[in-house]
């Protein structure tokens, strides 16, 4: 397994390089530039071509694209992502890290929630397969899956942030001006702010998890060893939890690998709706603002997470079912 793992890791480097190259090319091919804002037709005197060229010279944006890419690569290997081209001109690493901390916490809470709800629901559906309640649950989950996140979030806001049931905050991750006396108070405040966005994120994916868990457990329930265990008089609950779930959880576990990039990348819709300064929002802002260094850093982050996700999927696959043979 070690050799296999090393081989997989070695393959990651050229893949990541390819990702950065494609991102670099695509971001530069997009029309407009980081300073096109200074050509704003709605704001009077626009920059002349000469002035624009002077700015680009200062920032090295006038060099050839291969040269710019190599310079970026040179800094990247030293883990230096440069400074943002946005108005704040802050180091990209600090900006990305700041947003990453926000996103990862929120997305992790969502993942816990989606697995916490999805897996038991899936097991329940498998155990009651074909029943009216199971069909009803399946239909409900399908409906939930079909609802766009933005609409789901708006519904949650309408339910829990306004009107009679208004009990949860609407914006941000902390109460402005609140000086928590201790860590517990701070946690409660954070949890109150995070519960709706995390629920919104989780609900959008809970149907998928449930279906995977249901299919896996249902398949396991039809295996001969389950029939044998049942014949030995093993209680149904134990049969489900110990044997069927353990064997049927594999597809659900491997699904985690594909969730990882999403986990790292943040969610534009939810972050926008709930006013959360995470990676999703940073991504869209930096793409629209042609903030090339930030776009590149984010592509490295998400690219790494995607590869790590695939790797993790394979590793988990092996760990959960050791009988799978390595190539």
């Amino acid at each position: 397994m070690r050799v296999w793992l090393l081989r997989r890791l070695a393959l990651c480097a050229p893949t990541l390089l390819g990702v950065t190259l494609v991102t670099f090319a695509l971001s530069r091919m997009a029309p407009g530039g980081p300073f096109s804002g200074l050509l704003d037709p709605s704001e009077g005197k626009p920059l002349t071509r000469e002035q624009l060229a002077s700015i680009e010279r200062t920032l090295g944006l006038d060099r050839s694209l291969p040269e710019q890419y190599l310079r970026w690569l040179d800094r990247f290997v030293r883990f230096d992502f440069g400074d943002s081209l946005a108005a704040d001109r802050r180091p990209v690493r600090a900006k990305v890290l700041e947003a990453f901390q926000v996103s990862i916490g929120l997305q992790a809470a969502a993942v816990v929630l989606m697995y916490g709800v999805g897996v038991p629901l899936g097991v329940y559906c498998a155990a009651r397969a074909g029943s009216r309640l199971e069909r009803l649950l399946g239909g409900g989950l399908f409906l939930l899956h079909s609802v766009p996140v933005l609409l789901l979030g708006t519904l949650l806001i309408a339910l829990f942030c306004t009107g009679r049931l208004a009990s949860l905050p609407l914006l941000g991750l902390s109460t402005p001006g609140l000086r928590p006396a201790n860590a517990w108070e701070a946690f409660v405040d954070l949890a109150r702010h995070a519960v709706l966005p995390a629920t919104c994120l989780a609900l959008a994916h809970v149907a998928g998890i449930t279906r995977y868990a249901r299919a896996g457990v249902l398949e396991a329930l039809h295996q001969p060893f389950i029939h044998a265990a049942r014949a030995r008089g093993l209680p149904e609950r134990r049969l489900l939890a110990r044997h069927a779930l353990r064997n049927g959880i594999l597809p659900t576990v491997t699904l985690f690998g594909s969730i990882l990039p999403w986990l790292v990348g943040g969610s534009v819709a939810v972050e926008t709706l709930f006013g959360i300064p995470g990676l999703g929002r940073l991504s869209i802002d930096s793409i629209l603002g042609r903030d090339y260094p930030t776009v590149m850093a984010l592509s490295v982050l998400v690219g790494t997470a995607t590869m790590a996700g695939f790797l993790l999927t394979d590793v988990l696959y092996v760990l959960v079912r050791r009988r799978i043979e390595l190539p």
Partner: protein, 586 residues
């Protein structure tokens, strides 16, 4: 950022561009202005109401006086905006909202605009500048005793002096300060700044220009020389950008990245007699969705907010429950929408065709149905509240029959019977480019316009696109037609850069409009220092452009604002809802 955007933003609300541009709601009275037969007398009456911004009966009724109660200091003013702040470095700031915060709360300008008369009044300057007879030298005197904010009370007080002025000028004029490009542009006519003593300095300009006092007085950006890095290359990354030290009515207390900015009242605020700013704290939430304004307002998390959905605004106005918590205010923004025609394309080179196209745009329908009557149909390139706008020039009416006749006259007829007009074998087809926004003129207006064109035998493709992409295409004249918004100055707006033939190569004359008469008038306008004469030249320009239709002038929308009933002394000014003397009853 220039004066134009600055005042536009100041006008929006409490000196803020709250949640983007609210396509305001024109009342019944606005319809009168579009009557082609409007007399100069009715135009004058309309001008009076427009200029006083008191045309809204609903708004006037909803104003809450505070005369019977003594003003109360304290409380927190809460606002929200759709964008985020990158920096509060007064010199390298870029967006309209950064500008508003810097200019209004942290670094007030040398000269301010009186919110009703729009006259220049001294603020950081002790008086208006002395101007040399050749109108090239402006001597400003700083008001003594203005103190930079201190991080701790133990810090010795530091006064705002000409050292700060010279330092700031050095940073603004140095090309190494990349992000100061906007500041440099706004002061393009300034050649040098020289100190006379601790409080007096002279601004020397390259040529006489009627806007110099306004532009320098309102646009010059100060930063503390004693706290900033002196290295130009490092200036736009100075940490002061995220932890600014100003001298305005508020000081930054907390910057919660991506969430909100909290400010606390500056005890050393020097102009509290005129601009009291009674709220102890100010909080601005960033990156809010405009749709969330009603919800936030209902929860009491906002005290003032702007809406862009006219229909929703009207619904709220009709709901008695909303009147318990909010008052409703409407006023014209110094902003207007237009379609630019690229006259390098053969189909748009003929003024008759451009006039026909304007007559096919159902502007009245869009105003009444999409804006719920909350926009003013315009005929020229100024904000409708500006004195330069000639209210006697009626907009071209929506008239498909007359438009078709004009197109026939220009030689665009359907020769091959395929339903599309053509001339010299070239069919009349074009692409309308615009930035995707939710303003009614862009969502519904474009589609209704397309339908009218189709009926008249013209094919128009709609192509919404990204903001930066459209900017590049405009600069390079790579478009047929483009629909845009212009943030205008409420006073002294110089349109030279938009319509003079010199501005085709390096300016905002994207449509390549050329007119000798207009060039002459535009040059006369910017050389004229007498306000009355300049106004009359502006009216002549207006008439010329209304005749030539280089752009189809569409609407001047109104801002729709809701204000909490907890607030007192709420009033509208010509510049909109500015809350410097409002106070909170609870």
């Amino acid at each position: 950022m220039n004066m134009r955007a600055a005042i536009g933003s100041a006008a929006a609300i409490g000196a803020f561009v709250l949640l983007g541009v609210a396509p305001g709601c024109g009342e019944e009275g606005t319809g009168a202005s579009t009557d082609p037969g409007a007399t100069s007398q009715s135009a004058a009456a309309l001008a009076r109401t427009l200029h006083s911004n008191a045309f809204s009966e609903a708004g006037r009724r909803s104003l809450r006086g505070g005369s019977d109660e003594p003003p109360r200091d304290g409380g927190t003013m809460v606002q929200c905006i759709t964008t985020d702040f990158g920096t509060l470095n007064n010199i390298t700031r870029e967006t309209a909202n950064e500008e508003t915060v810097c200019r209004t709360y942290l670094f007030p300008p040398l000269l301010d605009l009186e919110p009703d008369t729009l006259e220049l009044v001294p603020l950081v300057a002790a008086a208006r500048p002395e101007i040399s007879p050749d109108r090239r030298r402006y001597t400003f005197t700083l008001r003594p005793g203005i103190l930079w904010q201190r991080r701790t009370p133990a810090e010795p007080p530091v006064e705002v002096t000409t050292e700060d002025v010279l330092f700031s000028w050095r940073m603004i004029s140095d090309p190494a300060v990349v992000k100061a490009a906007r500041a440099r542009l706004a002061l393009g006519v300034v050649e040098s700044v020289e100190a006379i003593d601790r409080y007096r300095f002279v601004v020397v300009t390259s040529r006489p220009y009627f806007r110099t006092e306004l532009e320098f007085g309102f646009n010059f950006r100060l930063m503390p020389a004693h706290r900033c890095t002196r290295e130009p290359a490092a200036f736009d990354q100075d940490p002061l950008g995220r932890a600014p030290i100003g001298y305005g009515p508020y000081a930054l207390e907390e910057w919660k990245a991506g969430q909100y900015l909290a400010f606390v009242r500056n005890p050393d605020w020097f102009a509290a007699d005129r601009l009291p700013y009674r709220f102890e704290r100010l909080r601005i939430h960033v990156k809010c969705e405009i749709d969330q304004v009603p919800a936030l307002f209902e929860r009491g998390e906002l005290l003032i907010g702007a809406l862009n959905d006219c229909g929703r605004y009207e619904e709220m106005k009709r709901d008695p429950a909303w009147h318990q918590i909010a008052t409703f205010h409407e006023y014209y923004l110094p902003l207007w929408l237009y379609v630019a025609w690229n006259q390098l394309q053969p189909q748009f080179a003929d003024a008759r065709v451009r006039r026909a196209l304007t007559m096919l745009f159902p502007r009245e329908l869009v105003r009444d149905q999409a804006y719920h009557g909350h926009a003013f149909v315009i005929s020229g390139p100024w904000a409708v509240t500006a004195k330069e706008y000639d209210l006697t020039v009626a907009p071209l009416p929506f008239d498909p029959v007359a438009a078709k006749a004009l197109l026939d006259e220009a030689g665009w007829i359907d020769g091959d019977g395929d339903g599309v007009r053509d001339r010299d074998g070239r069919p009349f087809r074009f692409v309308l480019k615009y930035v995707k926004t939710r303003a009614p003129a862009f969502t519904l207006g474009t589609v209704w316009f397309q339908e009218q064109l189709r009926r008249a035998g013209i094919e128009m493709e709609l192509r919404p696109m990204e903001f930066l992409q459209l900017k590049d295409e405009l600069r390079d004249h790579r478009f047929d037609a483009a629909m845009l918004a212009w943030g205008a100055d409420p006073r002294d707006d110089d349109v030279y850069d938009r319509f003079h033939s010199e501005a085709i190569a390096e300016g905002s004359n994207y449509g390549s409009y050329r007119s000798e008469e207009c060039d002459r008038l535009l040059a006369e306008f910017r050389a004229e220092f007498d306000e009355a004469r300049r106004e009359s030249i502006a009216h002549a320009i207006h008439r010329r452009l209304a005749e030539d239709q280089p752009w189809t002038f569409l609407f001047n929308p109104r801002s729709l604002v809701i204000v909490s009933t907890k607030l007192r002394n709420v009033k509208l000014h010509t510049l909109g809802a500015r809350w410097f003397d409002w106070w909170c009853a609870e």
